[in-house]
């Protein structure tokens, strides 16, 4: 962390937080700090000078219209963007004050789990879906207990406890998505990235996952990308709005929705943008 970078923090996404990034490093209440992040696919720039901070053990929502760069931003947090051909980023992302680009991507992804838009269970049994991540990360002891605990945390245990060795593809869409959440939780991540996790689900399944997210706050930091403003309003504590690859505004959710500072935020929230 250099002092020069700290000076770059603009005032766009902070109200009382004029604190410098130097202070954030020591600030236990901030989990992720993003500074001057730019991202490109080939020559096309998709993220422009992003500055934001994700508070620890609160739900942060990132909202914005399709194509605003929300998913790209989320994928940078566990460096999954690196699997996309011709994707390139510049800037700094700090996890607990450590630059994630200096970490080993595999250990980073164990600390920063991810749930995708479409449920993507492995074509394996329910048990092995969760055990796979545990085994490859060397968490082989008490495998069955760990699997049970993560299924319980994902509120799926009661529904699957009698068929743990059946293929995961037998589950319904909502159950599959909770299995994917359990799979991520099994590794005891500090941050859980969720990329529009409910967009393929019915309202009942959506409600279950939203309840689940709120319950997760005591142990990890969920970061939720959604294009559903109502969902952000229901579950998140802090909310950022992205438009065309730029952070427009970031505030505690209630303030963002009731008293937006930027006219573009108000326009978006009232349906006049995107």
């Amino acid at each position: 962390m250099h002092a020069g970078e700290a000076m770059n923090v603009p005032d766009c996404c902070q109200n009382a937080q004029t604190a410098s990034a130097m202070r954030d490093e020591a600030d236990a209440s901030v989990k992720i700090v993003v500074q001057g992040l730019n991202a490109w696919y080939e020559r096309r720039q998709v993220l422009f000078d992003i500055h934001l901070r994700i508070p620890d053990r609160q739900i942060t929502a990132i909202i914005g219209p399709s194509g605003s760069g929300k998913s790209t931003l989320l994928r940078v947090f566990n460096r999954l963007h690196e699997t996309v051909r011709h994707a390139r980023v510049g800037g700094v992302v700090l996890l607990d004050g450590l630059n994630i680009f200096t970490l080993d991507p595999r250990s980073l992804r164990q600390r920063v789990g991810m749930v995708f838009q479409m449920p993507n269970p492995f074509p394996k049994s329910i048990f092995d879906n969760i055990a796979f991540g545990l085994r490859i990360n060397g968490m082989r002891d008490h495998l069955a207990e760990r699997v049970e605990r993560s299924l319980r945390r994902a509120a799926l245990w009661e529904e699957v406890k009698d068929r743990l060795h059946r293929p995961a593809t037998e589950l319904s869409g909502g159950q599959q998505q909770r299995l994917c959440i359990a799979r991520a939780l099994a590794l005891e991540p500090e941050v859980l990235l969720l990329d529009e996790p409910c967009s393929a689900l019915d309202p009942v399944s959506t409600a279950r996952i939203e309840e689940l997210l709120i319950a997760l706050k005591d142990t990890c930091t969920p970061v939720l990308v959604t294009h559903q403003m109502q969902q952000a309003a229901r579950v998140s504590d802090f909310c950022y709005l992205l438009l065309d690859g730029r952070v427009i505004e970031g505030q505690p959710t209630r303030q963002l929705f009731t008293t937006p500072r930027d006219p573009r935020t108000e326009a978006y929230l009232t349906g006049r943008y995107g």
Partner: protein, 287 residues
């Protein structure tokens, strides 16, 4: 209103016409298969019996000869070709599907499609020049190598298709739980593609089982058993060829019968492969 109705009617007519046309084409494809199989059976049924499958050939004039050595020879040739070519085909397919953008990958891709279009007799000539001439004798080994050269690009291309058909969401899911590329491949992608990879190899094996040209001057032929891998061996295609161009009616009947056996064997491999695939899909989709 009338114009709408007439427009609808003309659409209905063209739809019916297209349906009939596509149906006709589909029936043609099936009819060809049924026709070939039926013709072979009709021609060869007289010679087709248990002795024919279980006995060695006999000299012209004697009755009751069989193709047992050709059956075993073909089986050995195909197994050898699979053993030699399947591992590089599968590993090569993994490389091509997971490291698509490297210069080596595009070179291998080009080389594979060229190798796939090499006439099979050229593969036979190549093995004749490099193995048979040097060893100074025909052999099962040389025939197996010639068939392996043909099997490799076929199996590789089919295996690449199988691996690339896996959704990227599966790759992302594996990487997102901290898997390395090797763990992703060995733990998730290969098991998911296993039935399709198996069928890639089996279908290529069924294709080469009927190849005659590459065997003519590599495995050659043999009227007796061919123990081990270092002697010339009989095979179904070469036996059919030899019998069919002979001047004897008895041998002609045996050629038909052997052709029927070959076709049935190849069809069985294809059907078994499809059965394996279908069973796997059903167990996945039973939701």
């Amino acid at each position: 209103m009338r114009s709408l109705r007439s427009a609808l009617r003309s659409r209905e007519l063209s739809s019916t016409a297209m349906l009939a046309l596509t149906g006709l084409c589909a029936v043609t494809a099936v009819a060809l298969l049924v026709g070939i199989l039926g013709y072979l059976l009709v021609q060869g049924i007289g010679a087709l019996n248990w002795t024919f499958l279980a006995r060695l050939p006999v000299p012209v004039g004697e009755t009751g000869g069989g193709i047992a050595n050709a059956l075993v020879g073909s089986a050995k040739l195909v197994v050898l070709a699979v053993v030699l070519a399947a591992p590089p085909a599968l590993l090569g397919a993994v490389y091509l599907s997971e490291w698509r953008d490297t210069r080596l990958a595009s070179a291998v891709r080009a080389a594979t499609s060229m190798l796939n279009s090499v006439p099979s007799i050229v593969a036979g000539l190549f093995v004749y020049g490099t193995i048979v001439v040097r060893q100074r004798h025909f052999s099962t080994f040389a025939g197996g190598v010639a068939l392996a050269i043909l099997l490799l690009p076929m199996a590789l291309q089919a295996a690449v298709v199988a691996l690339e058909a896996l959704p990227d969401s599966l790759r992302e899911a594996a990487l997102a739980v901290g898997a390395s590329r090797l763990q992703m491949l060995a733990g998730i992608l290969l098991p998911a593609a296993a039935p399709a990879l198996l069928s890639a190899v089996l279908i290529a094996a069924a294709r080469i089982a009927g190849e005659t040209a590459p065997l003519l001057f590599t495995a050659f032929n043999n009227s007796y058993w061919s123990p081990g891998w270092n002697q010339p061996t009989a095979s179904l295609p070469v036996t059919i060829y030899t019998y069919a161009i002979s001047p004897y009616n008895d041998w002609h009947r045996q050629a038909w019968a052997a052709a029927a056996v070959l076709l049935i064997a190849v069809l069985s491999i294809s059907l078994i492969t499809r059965g394996v695939l279908d069973a796997r899909w059903r167990s996945h989709e039973r939701s």
